[in-house]
Symmetry: C2
DNA sequence: CAAAATCAGATTGTGCGCAATCTAAATTCG
DNA sequence: CGAATTTAGATTGCGCACAATCTGATTTTG
């Protein structure tokens, strides 16, 4: 059966390795984020807003590679939770500018505990971890280049 | 702002690298799988069934790390599409055994074109690709060990 | 300037993913 | 054997993801 070399073997495919690892991350984060009342995608939005705000929805989408069909309801929920503020840009009525509320900003301090805890769970030393991040980013770039024939 | 070393910087986090790479894979696969009328999770189920069938739902879940809440409706859709057959096991009425139909088996031949096409899109040589698969599997194991304190 | 094209978000519909709960069957144990 | 426990799947409810479509604002162009 030589499953080791079967191209259709589940455990030989990079896609499933990425898929299942992303799910594993999601599960681990869920445990840490439940204390903050956040889902993982909501946490990602806050990471973007903590770096730079206010930003239009489009910019968040570019950064996280998500479209308005995903972001609009997600941001509405976060606004209802009191974490962010959305308002139309006066200079361009098409845009909706998003920024963290005071409560959303306050979460940043509590979130600082996460990266070290997660890094520990990976069992990787800082260099290996950094290399893996770069490898995945390179891979992602190549996949997207092949996935979006403009 | 030395974003290069900010632990909360989006681009410094392994989780986002994994999350966004998995999405990029999903997008690329969608293009290739649309010709077969499959979604990516449905393709994963077939990979499992092509390796070994019939198998109970539980075994598919163990293999793909998905629970019945995800699999039951997914498998029902695949049964409606005529790709798989589900039937209660006679020796244990709790189990539902799943196996590919003739149509589901026939898809395997058409699916053989996928792995080479995807491998090409990754731009990775076979060794790098294999190493990355192993690194991700190791990482996944560690994450799951930390995510499920029994 | 006005029509056409582009762009930002919102909306709709479908398919995962998962927690929580439920049912029925099988196993364990007193 | 019979009650308690465990197990396999199904169900419900919610939150992403994304394609497709729609609306209204802005930009481009003829």
């Amino acid at each position: 059966m030589t499953a080791d070399h079967d191209p259709l073997g589940l455990d030989n495919q990079l896609c499933f390795a990425a898929y299942s690892t992303a799910h594993a991350f999601n599960r681990l984060y869920r445990q840490h984020l439940s204390a903050l009342g956040l889902t993982y995608p909501q946490y990602l939005v806050l990471l973007v807003l903590w770096e730079n705000a206010p930003v239009p929805v489009k910019a968040i989408g570019d950064r996280l590679m998500l479209d308005s069909g995903t972001l609009t309801p997600l941001l509405k929920r976060m606004e209802t939770m009191g974490l962010i503020i959305r308002e139309r840009a006066s200079h361009d009525e098409r845009q909706v500018l998003v920024r963290p509320s005071t409560a959303g900003l306050a979460l940043k301090d509590r979130a600082r505990a996460l990266p070290p805890a997660i890094a520990c769970a990976t069992g990787l030393d800082p260099e290996s971890l950094g290399r893996m991040v770069e490898d995945l980013q390179t891979l992602r770039t190549r996949l997207l280049a092949n996935a979006q024939p403009e």
